[in-house]
């Protein structure tokens, strides 16, 4: 008999004794390749999956509930912890939503810096994706290479905002700091080396027989499936839909830069991998253009809107009214007009849902590579 106080395993209405020779396998939530805390209940016939049931909520930290009791600026650091692999992108999504609500126009230099941060974050996120997916599939070398390059990008962001992982580098109404002196030179140096690095990864993986066997024709998402599950990003573009939000509804300065949208109609793991590699190249292309834009911008960093955004520090120190405004903004927070905007919803959540349709028919080893290429981050799924 089980002791009353001992922790008991908890399974939701699942009977483990079955007569149809079906095995139920619990995958996660602590599986090292479950990219966080994904738990899958897999129904197996021999080694083949017949039914998959993803279970989320193991990293639910109650962020929405926290947000209810916070002023807008207070919540910003919490957005770092959603998609913690590319934190600035989350900061940006939140800041943009609030800015739309207020109707703020961000100064051009802030826009340029934001673009840089976003693309550097994209590179970091893609490199991390490559490193961990390769590790899950068994390519340790690519893991070490991927993290090597990622560390340089983290150094850059550390130079800019002081944090490696949780940046909070984008504020509502602009950015808090100008670029440090050597930032542009360092970023250029990194970008010059990047094509050679990407070629290194591709040399290691592209024609690698193990990689091809684990990736090609595994996890095929059809166009209809991708659209009906609400896939976004590479998950959608690998399935033959040429849709990129940066082109369709451009934000910041994405309508001023030249870049291509890589896409493929294969829909399998390999297509997604190729897409990520191509996107890194496009990111580098965008960054080169944005670096050139930086020179001819005026030095304002925060939008001028005394009702919502604190004045620059020099004004707060010298002018009484700015100080009063600042005091009110810090203690009570800004009060945007009543309205409706859409805050970013987590794409990973739907990409987790796809697994229900995607996994049946595959074998156990494929589960790991499919979870890898869906690139789900659980801070974002569960929040």
């Amino acid at each position: 008999m089980q002791h009353k106080n001992r922790l008991r395993p908890f399974f939701e209405n699942i009977t483990f004794e079955r007569e149809d020779n079906e095995l139920i396998l619990n995958f996660g939530p602590q599986h090292p390749s479950s990219h966080g805390q994904l738990r899958l209940m897999l129904h197996l016939q021999q080694e083949q999956i017949v039914k998959a049931h993803p279970d989320v909520g193991y990293l639910h930290r109650g962020m929405e509930k926290m947000a209810e009791n916070m002023i807008y600026n207070e919540f910003l650091p919490t957005t770092d912890r959603m998609d913690y692999i590319a934190s600035s992108s989350n900061n940006y999504g939140f800041a943009l939503a609030v800015e739309k609500l207020i109707g703020l126009e961000v100064p051009r230099r802030a826009k340029v810096i934001r673009m840089m941060l976003l693309e550097v974050n994209r590179l970091m996120s893609h490199l991390f994706w490559l490193a961990t997916t390769a590790l899950d599939v068994g390519a340790m070398t690519v893991f070490l290479y991927g993290f090597r390059e990622r560390e340089y990008l983290m150094d850059l962001l550390e130079d800019y905002c002081g944090a490696r992982l949780t940046h909070s580098a984008i504020r509502i109404g602009g950015v808090p700091l100008d670029l440090p002196d050597n930032f542009i030179a360092d970023l250029k140096k990194f970008l010059d080396k990047l094509p050679a690095n990407i070629k290194d990864y591709e040399d290691l993986l592209d024609t690698n027989r193990i990689w091809q066997m684990r990736m090609e024709d595994v996890g095929v998402i059809s166009k209809e499936m991708a659209l009906s599950w609400g896939c976004t990003g590479p998950m959608l573009r690998a399935s033959g839909v040429k849709w990129d939000i940066r082109k369709e509804e451009p934000y910041e300065l994405y309508d001023e830069v030249e870049f291509d949208i890589p896409w493929s109609d294969k829909g399998d793991n390999y297509a997604r991998y190729k897409l990520y590699m191509a996107e890194m190249r496009e990111s580098a292309k965008i960054l080169y253009q944005v670096l050139d834009m930086y020179k001819d911008t005026s030095p304002e960093l925060m939008a001028h809107a005394p009702k919502y955004i604190s004045a620059p520090k020099i004004d707060i120190m010298t002018q009484n009214y700015s100080l009063m405004q600042h005091f009110v903004l810090v203690t009570q927070g800004m009060r945007p007009p009543v309205g409706e905007v859409y805050v970013p919803t987590a794409p990973s959540f739907w990409h987790t849902g796809v697994l229900t349709d995607l996994l049946p028919g595959h074998y156990i080893p494929d589960v790991v590579s499919i979870i890898g290429t869906t690139n789900i981050v659980f801070g974002e799924v569960d929040r």
Partner: protein, 169 residues
């Protein structure tokens, strides 16, 4: 039969070292701390970074293992939620003695910024913690320092009997 003769009074002396069992065992234990990968949230990324190329955890004899049965320390990296709490206890119980726990990051220490209905307010309510590591998220250097502190702690322990049951908060 020996073709050569070693003069033990010269040439660096006898090939013998005198030590105590405690020191010898603890030397071995502290220098091969195999860690259970327990990346829960953001800190897990920094934990991976400390295992990767630049920070290279292998130098300290810390190798990440995916199985609790092969691990000596559990690095709880990230927010522990109430839904997950039973799993961490079960994995901790599956680890073989002697075992240690490093609580990495503010969330694991005290719940950190997430003081909500869903979050366990400190992982020390579930498993006994040896080293608390502050930061949100702590840098890889901080994790390395925590492992070195744990090594120091292990070296001061007795090796001859199993450890005393540790206290939960």
């Amino acid at each position: 039969m020996a073709q050569h003769q070693v003069n033990y009074t010269q040439n660096g002396g006898l090939p013998v070292a005198l030590t105590s069992i405690d020191k010898l065992v603890n030397w071995g234990r502290s220098n091969s701390l195999w860690a259970l990968t327990y990346g829960l949230a953001c800190c897990g990324i920094e934990m991976m970074a400390s295992g990767a190329s630049r920070y290279d955890f292998d130098r300290f004899g810390t190798i990440f293992r995916a199985s609790p049965r092969q691990a000596d320390i559990m690095i709880v990296a990230g927010t522990l939620t109430k839904k997950h709490a039973e799993f961490i206890r079960r994995l901790y119980d599956q680890m073989t003695e002697p075992k240690w726990v490093i609580s990495m990051g503010s969330c694991a220490n005290t719940g950190g910024m997430f003081n909500t209905y869903a979050t366990v307010q400190g992982v020390d309510r579930i498993v006994p913690v040896d080293i608390y590591l502050p930061g949100c998220a702590p840098r890889p250097e901080t994790l390395q320092y925590a492992v070195m502190m744990l090594q120091k702690k292990i070296r001061a322990e007795k090796a001859d009997k199993s450890q005393k049951p540790k206290r939960l908060m």
